[in-house]
């Protein structure tokens, strides 16, 4: 419930202006959510819906992992430009990865381990896919 509330609040705060969403601010806050939950993932659900969820098999998360028997916390966000918003979130994640790793990152989809101090977390695994057919991401605190 806390996860859902957090995502809803962030969505209302950063994405409510349909023509001027604050994607950079929203992604920064996603890292803060992931610092608490261990992971945050998102997939395109339908026409105007995004499904944010806590991934159930986090890598290297200490203490905050969801038990496999529990349904992972999920939050559906409705947005007029849902697919575009997810593409922009993935684009921001790709740019963060590009800025923080020596690896040659593809903005169309990649995975990287980056150093990024958020709350008490310093190391993250970020993976994303950002193509016309598929958009999704996973942020994991290490």
């Amino acid at each position: 419930m806390i996860f859902e509330t957090n995502i809803k609040e962030l969505s209302d705060r950063y994405l409510a202006d349909v023509r001027r969403p604050d994607i950079t601010g929203f992604v920064d806050q996603l890292f803060r959510v992931a610092a608490e939950t261990g992971t945050v993932a998102c997939v395109f659900k339908e026409d105007k819906r995004l499904q944010f969820f806590v991934h159930s098999t986090p890598v290297g998360v200490m203490g905050s992992a969801t038990k496999p028997t529990q349904a992972p916390p999920t939050c559906i966000v409705e947005h007029e430009a849902a697919r575009g918003v997810l593409r922009m979130i993935c684009a921001r994640l790709g740019t963060i990865c590009k800025e923080r790793t020596a690896k040659d990152i593809s903005l169309y989809g990649d995975k990287a381990v980056i150093d990024y101090t958020v709350e008490d977390r310093k190391s993250w695994s970020v993976s994303f896919t950002n193509t016309p057919e598929r958009q999704e991401f996973l942020i994991e605190a290490l």
């Binding site: 349909v18 023509r19 994607i23 007029e80 430009a81 575009g84 593409r87 593809s106």
Partner: protein, 126 residues
């Protein structure tokens, strides 16, 4: 080598925007416009992501998208930048997340497509 800009648009103020892709796709969009149902190289172009000149580019630079797309589709002629001058009134309809201007169905894409034949535009290699 840069191709010349096509005939200029009317007197309304315009915004110079760039879209990074492959040569094949840039040429296709140049001639046909960013039709949301357009299929190029197996992809459906369900919008047009562009960026203003100069940056910063918190969501990625057009050159990086061009190089990435060319890497994914090596048979499409290499990286290319499609540069367009879009009337400010159409740009205002698009999504502006910061460092990017995103034309989507319902968010300026239809208006952009209608104005496309009159827009100044060119394709060049980054």
């Amino acid at each position: 080598m840069a191709a010349p800009l096509s005939p200029n648009s009317p007197s309304e103020p315009t915004v110079l925007l760039r879209h990074g892709t492959t040569k094949l796709r840039a040429d296709h969009i140049f001639h046909n416009g960013p039709d949301p149902n357009l299929v190029v190289g197996g992809d459906t172009a369900n919008g047009l992501s562009t960026a203003p000149l100069g940056g910063p580019y918190p969501l990625g630079a057009p050159e990086d998208y061009a190089r990435g797309k060319a890497r994914n589709f090596p048979q499409e002629g290499g990286p290319a930048i499609l540069e367009i001058e879009v009337p400010a009134s159409i740009v205002a309809l698009a999504v502006h997340p910061g460092g990017e201007v995103l034309f989507l169905p319902g968010f300026g894409l239809e208006e952009l497509l209608t104005a496309w034949p009159q827009l100044s535009k060119r394709v060049y290699t980054p």
